[in-house]
């Protein structure tokens, strides 16, 4: 039960960071923290049922690595265009 409480606390810290920071890279860091909390939860539940949970956590690690690769490429492109990575500046689609 301790691990579940810990992963809930870490997930909430990551959620606060993702909602309150403006910089894109800081939001990406917060998303990584949330994904790690979810992976901790999955791995903990694998101790009670069967090892499938660890495989889900493995897939979550791979997917978040892919997410970081693509997200950082997009932010680098945005930095080349606008000279800053402030999420308030990305309002092109709002019209």
């Amino acid at each position: 039960m301790n691990y579940l409480l810990l992963s809930a606390i870490i997930f909430c810290i990551g959620l606060y960071g993702a909602l309150s920071r403006k910089n894109g890279i800081m939001v990406l860091i917060s998303i990584e923290i949330m994904l790690n909390a979810a992976g901790l939860n999955l791995a903990y539940f694998s101790l009670f049922y069967n090892p499938s949970g660890q495989i889900f956590a493995l897939f979550a690690i791979v997917t978040s690595a892919a997410c970081v690769g693509c997200g950082l490429a997009i932010f680098l492109l945005a930095f080349r265009e606008k000279e800053k990575i402030d999420l308030d500046n990305f309002n092109l689609l709002k019209g």
Partner: protein, 155 residues
């Protein structure tokens, strides 16, 4: 009393708080590296050794280096200002989510399995039951590789 859990858990919470609150991006990424290391230690502590080593290899060896490359090659990125309305809403929603999680997990009790799953069992599952998912994930990595090259290619 599990000493390793408390030490690593405290380290994880403290470094996560540092990572989201530090102004300098490089320092935040360093705190994130400490966070990933302590999560890997927690995996090893709950006897998921393979997952712990994969976590340390991929995150600390790959993701952190990628973050540092992007931050250091793109000049000085402004940390970005955050106003109090965003902070208030963030604090409120994360507190609500935490209370909801604690309330929702109250009625359950769990009994731990006696046998521990080692790396052999994970490898068997990955090559039999989850083979298609394994291949799809490898395809995803290839797509991300090509996609980021295409995005950053200069004309």
């Amino acid at each position: 009393m599990d000493v390793g859990f408390y030490v690593l858990g405290f380290l994880a919470i403290a470094s996560a708080m540092l990572a989201i609150s530090l102004k300098s991006l490089v320092r935040a990424v360093m705190a994130l590296a400490l966070f990933f290391l302590s999560i890997g230690g927690l995996y090893i502590n709950m006897s998921c050794e393979f997952l712990g080593f994969v976590q340390i290899l991929i995150y600390v060896g790959g993701v952190i280096v990628l973050f540092l490359f992007v931050i250091m090659t793109s000049g000085n990125i402004e940390p970005g200002k955050s106003n109090w309305i965003l902070r208030l809403f963030g604090l409120l929603s994360s507190l609500l989510l935490f209370l909801a999680l604690v309330w929702a997990s109250k009625p359950f009790t769990f009994t731990r399995l006696k046998r521990f799953s080692g790396i052999k069992e994970i490898g068997n599952l990955l090559m039999t039951q989850y083979l298609i998912q394994f291949e799809v994930v490898s395809l995803l990595l290839l797509v991300v590789l090509i996609g980021s090259i295409m995005l950053l290619k200069k004309e």
